[in-house]
């Protein structure tokens, strides 16, 4: 099948989202009214999504959107379609934006918009959806399906968050050095959350979710390019690229789950791996370590297997030790226990897992039970391993992983 029309359509859509996001950010940064900025551009954006794939991307995409938005304004006022605030924004477009657009590009305020969306005064769970909607123009229904929520619920949360930006007086500003680290974390976390939602559909059969991983990477590139001196922005981009590079190897031809250690590295996307390595090296030159760089470094050790034929578990163990000391979480602790098992044996690994046993959050956390089952099985503790596999199987939502765990369990009782 010829995929060229598909690629052209994707490129046109990306260009439309890029210009739309820039305009929303530029307008909203002046008024703090994100909803009205979206409202003012909605018709023009829809027209671009429909037209550009057929006609090609215009030479000045933002100017095209503005011109259409202005033209539609006349109709809208006549038909009383846009809100009052939306009309104010259209007026702003007419007066200020076009004057600017004649000879220079619109300043890129998308980073400021992202900092507003990921502000501490915005509920953490809605930050990633808010960024996807305002910066990339996704509608609430698409975002809702990716985050497994009803469109109505997602729509309400987005509307509420946008009102909050306006009414609470959340600034559109890249924070100053002193507080940048903490605030940037929130932005990176939101981007990673978007990516992770897409990543959780490993087969890539749900197009909406696969796109979300792509958009996460896109946002990661944007932030890294706008804040080139921030090592963690590069670290996150590197981490996402490493993960994305392995997508094709995560399932075999029959659609069954393949654990990382058993993946065929010929299926990894080597261009993406190279780019991920370059980002990580770039981050390292800044001399400030952080959570995302460490996680990317773990990925880097894993993919080094394509060159060395073996996995350096000692290096992974050390990276998880460092990660545990700066960002200890049950997830990190479990991965660290697995690395300990690989370097010091299953007993030590299991001991590291048992230390976590009191944490109530682990009761319904699948990776904990899967790791525990694997180590118990290695120690010949059949009945205990089976019990742990049962817990893991009952907690898994991906059918391919469930089948994988069931196969391991079956092997134990035969």
């Amino acid at each position: 099948m010829d995929s060229r029309p598909e690629i052209a359509r994707a490129a046109a859509e990306a260009a439309a989202r890029q210009s739309y996001g820039k305009l929303v950010a530029w307008l909203a940064a002046r008024t703090r009214d994100v909803a009205a900025a979206e409202d003012a551009l909605a018709d023009a954006f829809a027209a671009a999504l429909e037209r550009w794939p057929r006609t090609g991307v215009p030479e000045k995409p933002e100017a095209w959107l503005l011109a259409v938005a202005r033209r539609r304004r006349v109709d809208a006022v006549r038909r009383r379609l846009t809100s009052e605030a939306g009309r104010d924004h259209l007026k702003l477009i007419a007066e200020e934006a076009e004057a600017r657009m004649t000879d220079e590009d619109l300043p890129d305020e998308r980073l400021r918009l992202m900092f507003a969306c990921a502000h501490p005064a915005i509920e953490p769970g809605v930050r990633a959806p808010l960024i996807l909607q305002t910066v990339l123009g996704f509608d609430a229904a698409t975002i809702a399906s990716a985050f497994l929520l009803s469109p109505a619920t997602m729509g309400q949360r987005l509307v509420r968050a946008k009102s909050r930006i306006r009414e609470t007086g959340i600034p559109f500003r890249v924070p100053e050095r002193g507080e940048l680290g903490e605030r940037l974390d929130a932005v990176l976390e939101a981007i990673y959350a978007a990516f992770a939602e897409g990543w959780s559909d490993p087969a890539g059969t749900e197009t909406r979710r696969r796109n979300l991983a792509t958009e996460g990477i896109w946002l990661g590139r944007l932030v890294a390019s706008l804040l080139p001196d921030e090592p963690e922005a590069l670290g996150l981009l590197s981490l996402m690229l490493f993960a994305e590079a392995r997508r094709a190897a995560r399932r075999d031809a029959a659609g069954d789950y393949v654990p990382l250690a058993e993946q065929d590295h010929a299926l990894w996307d080597h261009a993406l791996v190279d780019e991920a390595e370059a980002c990580l090296r770039g981050a390292a030159t800044k001399g400030v370590i952080g959570r995302y760089q460490l996680e990317a470094a773990v990925q880097s050790v894993h993919v080094a297997r394509r060159l060395t034929g073996r996995t350096d578990w000692m290096a992974i163990r050390e990276l998880y030790d460092a990660l545990f000391s700066i960002a200890g979480s049950p997830v990190v602790a479990i991965n660290r226990a697995v690395a300990i098992a690989e370097t010091e044996g299953a007993v030590a690994g299991l001991a590291a897992l048992y230390v976590l046993g009191d944490d109530k959050r682990l009761d319904d956390y699948q990776p904990y039970w899967a790791a525990r089952a694997g180590l118990l099985a290695r120690l010949g503790q059949g009945p205990w391993a089976v019990e742990a596999y049962d817990r893991a199987i009952g907690l898994e939502r991906d059918p391919a992983v469930r089948r994988f765990l069931q196969a391991r369990r079956t092997a134990l009782i035969q």
């Binding site: 009414e167 007086g169 600034p171």
Partner: protein, 122 residues
């Protein structure tokens, strides 16, 4: 934008504060108020008497009910307020964090609903 800083403290703890510590606290509030005024952020601010002096009023079925005590029993009680002018919530948060009450209780930030925001435009 105008913001209200609503100061909520546990009155019982406050009532049992030894005199020298209470004086220290009072001086801290004085310095804070002065800093607000010097920076031009201060619009208003008062301390409220404890809830034992509170009277709540409500009309039901045409009858005026006067209740001795606060509207709701809470762990912390409204103890005072500042009204300030701040460019945005970040600046307001900075001021709230400097308020001595942020270390002893909670400072709640509420934007003033400006008349211009809800009156129909002409």
């Amino acid at each position: 934008m105008r913001y209200m800083l609503l100061i909520n403290n546990d009155e019982a703890v406050l009532a049992n504060t030894p005199p020298e510590k209470a004086q220290q606290m009072s001086a801290a509030y004085g310095a804070y108020t002065e800093a607000l005024k010097k920076s031009g952020a201060w619009l208003a601010g008062e301390r409220l008497r404890p809830t034992q002096a509170t009277t709540s009023v409500r009309i039901a079925d045409g009858k005026t009910n006067v209740i001795d005590g606060p509207y709701a029993d809470t762990k912390e009680q409204l103890a005072g307020f500042y009204m300030i002018e701040a460019a945005d919530i970040d600046t307001a948060i900075d001021w709230a964090a400097r308020c001595p009450a942020a270390s002893t209780g909670t400072v709640e930030l509420r934007p003033i609903w400006e008349m211009a925001d809800y009156m129909p435009k002409t």
